[in-house]
Subunit: 113 residues, 2 copies
Amino acid sequence: MFHALATSTRRDILRRTIEREQSVSTLASEYDMSFAAVQKHVSVLEAANLIVKRAEGRERLVRANPEMIARARALLARYEQLWRSRIARLDDLLAEPPASAEEDTDPRNQQGD
Amino acid sequence: MFHALATSTRRDILRRTIEREQSVSTLASEYDMSFAAVQKHVSVLEAANLIVKRAEGRERLVRANPEMIARARALLARYEQLWRSRIARLDDLLAEPPASAEEDTDPRNQQGD
DNA sequence: ATAACGTACAACCAAATGGTTGCACAACGA
DNA sequence: TCGTTGTGCAACCATTTGGTTGTACGTTAT
């Protein structure tokens, strides 16, 4: 999925199909490459579920799938959350009372600052 | 940057270095591939600014760069925003009074339901 | 019916990618 | 000092990727 987002052409296709549903050939006319090349980009986005195709006569209308974009964003948000919880853990260590020598591992050696 | 995130190995490296800073060889020992392969993944992440390397003796300590993760997430959030504003625009059209035949384009033909 | 259009797909190609091994070199430990 | 460890880098290889052209086929318009 991140792979599908890794090309600027595909991100642009995504952007355009968010704006409005449009046919593959309409999309292809926007780029300086062959129809087949754009067709491949579209199929990569489709495989990643970032867009959806719909048949209408001889045309295939392409529209973005906002659910998948949200999923990608949520995944990255999880990484941010990991980071925040790491910070929280360090804060916890620092907040611990430096008293009692009960533990066999000294908290001061857990995370050098 | 999305390209850097496109491999599960690299996302895993990112996750580990969010958890805690660690050397390249420590990272390498976690994966079933050569040191050089992991080294390359690390350099891809570094080029994308998703991680930062720091020299300490002969080791190179790697840590995640949360700013860049946030930027990626923000970018995807913008796509979501695009989608929302598209919906808002359609809502505006539907909210318009269907009276006055002044426009030369009939609102009923704008978006087939 | 026939031409033009929109699409799908296969074959092909150059470049990038993800992996390998090997070598060089600096830093550390005995 | 000398072996070991951690790193960087180059060369190489197989596969994937992003592009091309050509062909085929259904749909639309004349």
